[in-house]
Symmetry: C2
Subunit: 459 residues, 2 copies
């Protein structure tokens, strides 16, 4: 039996899926999206015309203005913004030198939120641990007065599952090292590349523990530093990082809507975050998401005309420093969260989507069988019903708001994540187009149907 014949045979065994008018809209927008580079053009515009946009910075302000202008240019019915107070942090100069036994420079970057070293730098012996647990278990006398080096390797994975295992080094390394009496902490970058780009990202202090400077060295520098330990000599490092807290600033969640023609109060919420770290141009994180969800909404409007339900695109402020825009949105709009049919965020780069996870009312979850089948035919499998929905919507299920996640191939995402190397050339036009198409299909279907997955099962 030929492969083609076999596929036909299998198809006959499947139960027929009732095709709804909503699906026709989804398939219509699919066809249009496959001829469109809109999502790529949007992220190109953001990275070229704005570039880096750390919360509260001039770049962040430029991004807010860019987003409003872009929504207007694309003909959204309603464009507005909601204030988000953000703490502005400035990276400043960062430098690390092995003083002895093998003098050479290491590539270092400050972790987001770190305090500075003294102006003349901080010089001490380095003590290396393979995990935060080994550090916590170490004899305090071994750590005291030294610089802790947390040297945990991160493995590649399509779903990025090792990020969660290694990222505590970055977030909690300073607190754990300070508890043991260290004067500073440096971590092996939380990344899967072999390169000299250091990966930044947010870190936290604990008011009850002394604050110490925290930086990340590149994976290549971590290898180099690790190799120096085989000399059996004390390794003396000098680190100098002049980061600073630059105070409160106002940023904004920027919102564009196509207003529903029949049910304007029923809202399809698709989102991304507008801010980025400051060393790259934030192409993958999260320019891609900005392009994908903005293009999806626009393509639905073009293919379908005015949607029955409202499509709301939110570009959140200050995701990188703690989902600040996401939490603010939930507070500002707490009385109307019940209107949201579902919420979702695209924030994992531009790798192709291979799975749809949901957090829908179990009783109706399988009702859009025709949509699920159409996605399955494109290689997007229906997954679990315990989705978080993405960082900035992750708090919404607590209010009963359904969420969904479109899982992307993240095999190479952590090569570039939070580095200077997060730039437009890392996005393949065909990959971001596939994302745009899947988001547009789901948005079209949901905006044109009566399917209602509310309320979300509580976490």
């Amino acid at each position: 039996m030929s492969c083609a014949n076999k596929a036909e045979e299998v198809e006959k065994l499947l139960p027929p899926v009732a095709s709804t008018p909503a699906l026709a809209h989804a398939l219509n927008v699919k066809q249009n999206s496959e001829q469109s580079n809109l999502s790529y053009d949007i992220v190109k515009s953001l990275t070229v015309e704005v570039g880096p946009r750390i919360p509260g910075s001039q770049g962040d302000k430029a991004a807010v203005a860019w987003a409003e202008a872009k929504f207007n240019e694309l003909g959204f019915d309603k464009v507005y913004k909601e204030a988000v107070r953000v703490r502005n942090w400035e990276r400043g100069f960062a430098d690390a030198k092995v003083v002895s036994p093998f003098p050479q420079d290491l590539v270092i970057t400050a972790l987001g939120g770190s305090i500075a070293t003294p102006e003349s730098g901080l010089e001490a012996k380095v003590v290396m641990y393979d995990s935060i647990e080994s550090l916590a278990a170490a004899d305090k006398a071994e750590v005291e007065g030294n610089i802790v080096f947390l040297n945990t390797r991160m493995e590649r994975d399509k779903a990025g599952r090792f990020y969660g295992k290694v990222v505590p080094n970055r977030v909690n390394g300073a607190v754990e090292a300070a508890k043991q009496g260290a004067h500073a902490v440096i971590i092996r970058s939380v990344g899967t590349d072999n390169s000299r780009f250091a990966h930044t990202g947010v870190m936290r202090y604990d008011d009850k523990v002394e604050k110490i400077p925290a930086g990340a060295i590149s994976t290549a520098d971590a290898d180099n530093l690790e190799a120096m330990f085989s000399s059996q000599q004390d390794i003396i490092l000098n680190i100098n990082m002049q980061a600073k807290d630059a105070g409160w600033q106002t940023s904004y969640n920027v919102i564009g809507e196509f207003i529903g023609s029949e049910k304007p109060d029923e809202v399809i919420l698709i989102s991304a975050h507008l801010d980025s770290w400051d060393e790259g141009t934030g192409a993958l994180d999260d320019g891609a998401g900005v392009g994908i969800v903005t293009a999806a909404a626009k393509l639905v409007k073009e293919a379908v005309g005015q949607p029955k339900r409202t499509i709301r695109v939110i570009l959140y402020a200050a995701e990188e420093i703690g989902l600040v825009g996401g939490y603010q949105y939930a507070r500002t709009n707490k009385d109307t969260l019940g209107n949201i049919i579902f919420a979702a965020e695209s924030d994992f780069g531009a790798g192709q989507i291979y799975q749809l996870d949901t957090r829908f009312n179990e009783a109706v979850r399988n009702d859009p069988a025709d949509l699920y089948a159409a996605l399955e035919a494109m290689g997007v499998t229906l997954g679990n019903n315990t989705s978080g929905g993405g960082p900035d919507v992750s708090m919404l299920p607590n209010y009963g708001v359904p969420v969904l996640s479109l899982k992307q191939d993240g095999t190479y995402y952590f090569d570039f994540h939070h580095t200077p190397n997060d730039t437009l050339d890392k996005i393949k036009p065909e990959d971001i187009q596939q994302n745009q198409t899947v988001w547009a299909m789901i948005t079209a279907y949901m905006a044109m149907s009566d399917f209602d997955p509310r309320p979300a099962p509580k976490k």
Copy 2:
């Protein structure tokens, strides 16, 4: 007929190759080399214990001391050094910012030898050309007073053949831009990566043309800057590079020998260069070469015992700034160059060898047929007889000295060449081992035979 049978059939058609005692030595060292990581261990030692080593710097001095110590540690019969006067250049701070219309930083590095900008930077409009020829052909009024951006893309190639086409941007860009009245030149990095590492490398001034600052921006930044041109607005750039000429220093060609037991005055000269650029640890360029030729000599000594001819390993000074050590060697030793049976340099990273080119006396070139056949069986094909031999030995055929080149797979070499990302992790142990084995086999064969390819055909 099975594939194996076919190979047997083909073999029967080939003329028999006489096997010499020299080949037995080559096959003996091959067996040992395939169990040895010596070349990798040597480049690891150099990159970890010394790191960057730009000519005349502290790192360069440390590298010279390291090389002498390494030769002694490996039991070379004679270890010595020959002085090379080098001009020391210090990179200093480098910074580039698009001032308008889209303010953002670009990753820039000064080209080796560039003068500094004024201390407060240099601000001007950018004019873009796709090649140095387009710049030369441009209307002077268009260029005058501006910053020239040479934006030529470089293609990947196993043999790195596109380097020669693009590198004139780097070497001659400042002179050509100054002739047209530009105040500075920036080039798209001469590299095949998509990243934010800028590629440095030597540039030249012409005493008859005004000196202007010259830098390279990364390929990702070149894409970004190019995209800004579609706005049709003037692009104003501010560049600030504080490079300086730090005067004359003494460096050294470091030399280790195993003295020939029967013909000590007949010399097998294998070499690499010890210096590197200052931003990476010089693993591929040319720590790999240092490891390969040093290990090859040592492995021959271990497998063969004292060689009949002298094996001389030269680690040249200051290749990067104009083959300074190579030219100095030829001057210092001009009276004894006639003793060199052949010379060769390894200086193209650690990719596997696939071809042997020679510049041997035509009349005897094919005499070592058994060696060529043994190499062919390992995937190393005999190529042309017009080899240059490698940068630091390229002047020797003018004195009648035969040379050979072992061509390496350079597909990814120009991803890392002259960047901060030229680090140990870019070397695959199995690849550098293959290099070590091929070099050791040829060295063993030549040191144990009477084969004499002198004199080299003149260029």
